[in-house]
Symmetry: C2
Subunit: 345 residues, 2 copies
Amino acid sequence: MSPIPNGRVIFNEAPLAEGYPDAQKTLVYESNQTMDVETTPLNGGILVKTLVVSIDPYLRGRLRNPEKQSYNEAFVLGQPITSYSIAVVLRSENTNVKAGDHLYGNFPLVEYHILKDLTGAKKIENKEGIPWSLYTGIAGMPGKTAYYGWKAYAKPKKGETIFVTTGAGPVGSMVIQLAKLDGLKVIASAGSPEKVQFMKDIGADVAFNYKTESTDEILEKHGPIDIYWDHVGGEVLDLAFKHAARFARFIEVGLITGYNTGGIQPVKNFGNVLFKSLTIQGFIVGNLDAEYSEAFYNEIPARIARGEIKYLEYVKHGLQSAGQVLVDVLKGDNIGKAVIIVADK
Amino acid sequence: MSPIPNGRVIFNEAPLAEGYPDAQKTLVYESNQTMDVETTPLNGGILVKTLVVSIDPYLRGRLRNPEKQSYNEAFVLGQPITSYSIAVVLRSENTNVKAGDHLYGNFPLVEYHILKDLTGAKKIENKEGIPWSLYTGIAGMPGKTAYYGWKAYAKPKKGETIFVTTGAGPVGSMVIQLAKLDGLKVIASAGSPEKVQFMKDIGADVAFNYKTESTDEILEKHGPIDIYWDHVGGEVLDLAFKHAARFARFIEVGLITGYNTGGIQPVKNFGNVLFKSLTIQGFIVGNLDAEYSEAFYNEIPARIARGEIKYLEYVKHGLQSAGQVLVDVLKGDNIGKAVIIVADK
C-alpha cells in the first residue's frame, strides 16, 4: 500500500479575545501530508486511526496567543490541536495493546498518528456495545465531569431543588439525570425549544428557554435552589446567588458567558456567600479522575446500554468540519453533544 | 433598697445605607428607667446584671430599617439593641442557676434585666480565672468564629500559606495563632503600625499595613496563598483570587468593605474559582456551634490561661460609650477586641 493523505486540523490563527473564532481561519484542515500506514516505522509506538473527535467549549480557552496565561496550556500555532478522541489501533509495537483495540485520550486531530506509549490513553473495551462516539460524550470527559462533580460536591438530599444551566449539553443532561436518580426537583435551562424538549424528555421538572423566559421569574417561582450547576457565569450566576437557599452548593464547571466576550463578568451578588452560608466549588475533571474513574466506567456505559441514561448527539463527519463545529458549540447552535465522526471503523 | 437607674442603649435612628453610623444618633443611652433589683418580681425568671458587652462589626447590618431584608434580623427602633455579653446572676427563680453564676449570651444592652429562662444563655464557670471580658472575645463569639471555621473549612497542611485580613482583630488574631500552631506561613494585614506590631507579636510571618503597603505586591512576593481568611471583601478579595494557589480555600466571614458603602463591591476575578479549582465557604458561627462548642470551651480558655494564645483588648467603660465604640470598630480605630465594661462584678 502506498502513502495516503493524512488530514489534520491546524491551529492557524488565534481569534481575538472578544468574539467567536472564525470557522474558516482559526482552525484549518490540511491534507497535504501523507502516511504509509503499513510501512511507517513505529519505533516501539502504536499507530492509531482516529474514529471520533469530541468538540467542547473549553477548547476556546486554549486557542489563544501563548503569552496569555491561563489555567490550561495554549495550543501551538501551526500545529494540530488536540481533543478527546476515540482511535483504533492499526499496528502496535507496545505489548499492552494490539491491532483492533480502541483507545480514549486527548489525541491530536490527525487521521493517522503514532502514540509513543500509552501515557494519557485509556483502553476502552466497550463490552456493552454502545456507539463509540458516546465514549467522548456522556461516557467520556463531559459525562465524567457531571458524575465526578456530582459525587464529590453536590451533597444532594432527596427533595432538594437544583438549577442546571446548559441542561441539554452532555454535562448538563447527565447532571439532570443524576439529580433525578437522587430524587431532586430539577430546574434546567437551555437556548432553543428542541433543547427544552430534550430536557423534559430526560426528566427535568421545570425546563425553560432562557432566551424567551425570564430566569429570574422562573427561579422566583420554582426556587429557592439548593444546588446550582454553573456552566455560564455572568448574570445567571448572579441570579443563582439571589435565589439560593441557605447552605446551597454552587458547582462551577464553566463560565461560557465570558469565553467570547474578553473576560468574565463581575459578580454582583457575592455577598450571599456569607449571608446564606454558601459553598462554591470550582473543579476540572482531571482533579477527580483517580478517585472516581473506575466507578464511572463500571456504572455509566452499562446504564446507557440499558436505556437508563439518555443522550443526544450533534454529529458531523470529517475533520474538515472542526472549525465550524467549534463555532457551533460556542454559539450553542448544536443540539446534543458535538462529535466529529472521522471514520466508522 | 429603692429603685436605681437602669441604663440602656436604644436603637434610636437607622443610619443611611451608605456611610458610618452617627456616634450620637444611631444608638442613644437612656437612664430614665429604674429598677428595684431586690424586689422586682421575677415570675420564674433570672435577674442579671450586665458586666461586659461586646461590640462587633456585624452589628452594623442589624441597624437598618426593618423593611430591608438581610440574613439577620433588624433591630427594633426605640428598643435596646442586643449583643454578646457576660452577665452575673443577682437573683434566680430558675433552679439551674443561682446568684453569683455568670452567663454568656446575646443579651440586651441594659444594666439590669430579667431573663425568662436560659434559652440562648450559657453558664460560664471560668475555672481558669481569665478576665470575664475575654468570654465575649477570643473565648467568645469571635474566637469561636475563628476556631469553628478553622476546624471545619481550612483543611490546613503544614507549610502552606494563609492570608488573613483584619489580623489584629479578635477573629483574625485567633486565626493567625491557630495557623501558626498548625505550621503554616502567615501573611496578615491590618490598618495601623500598632496592629502590625501585634500581629508580629502573635507570630505572623509577614505582617503589613494595608494603608501604606500594596497588598498586591505583598501577595506577589510572599504568595501564592492556599487559604484566604476574608473579613473585608472588595478589592482585597479580588487580589486574593489573583494570588490564590490551585485548590485554595477561601473562608468568607465578613465583607466589611461593603458594610458602610451601601453594598458589596462586584467581584472581578471570580473566574479563578474555576481556573484554580477553588473552594469558597461562607459561614456564620451559629451554623457550627453544636459541633464545635464543647471542644472550644475545653481547649481555648485553658490555652489563654497558659499564655499559649494571646489577645489584645480595646476597653471602654459604661454603656454610654456604645455608640462611639461601634463607630470605632467600623472605622478600624480600635486596637484589639472592643468591649465595654459595664460593671466589674
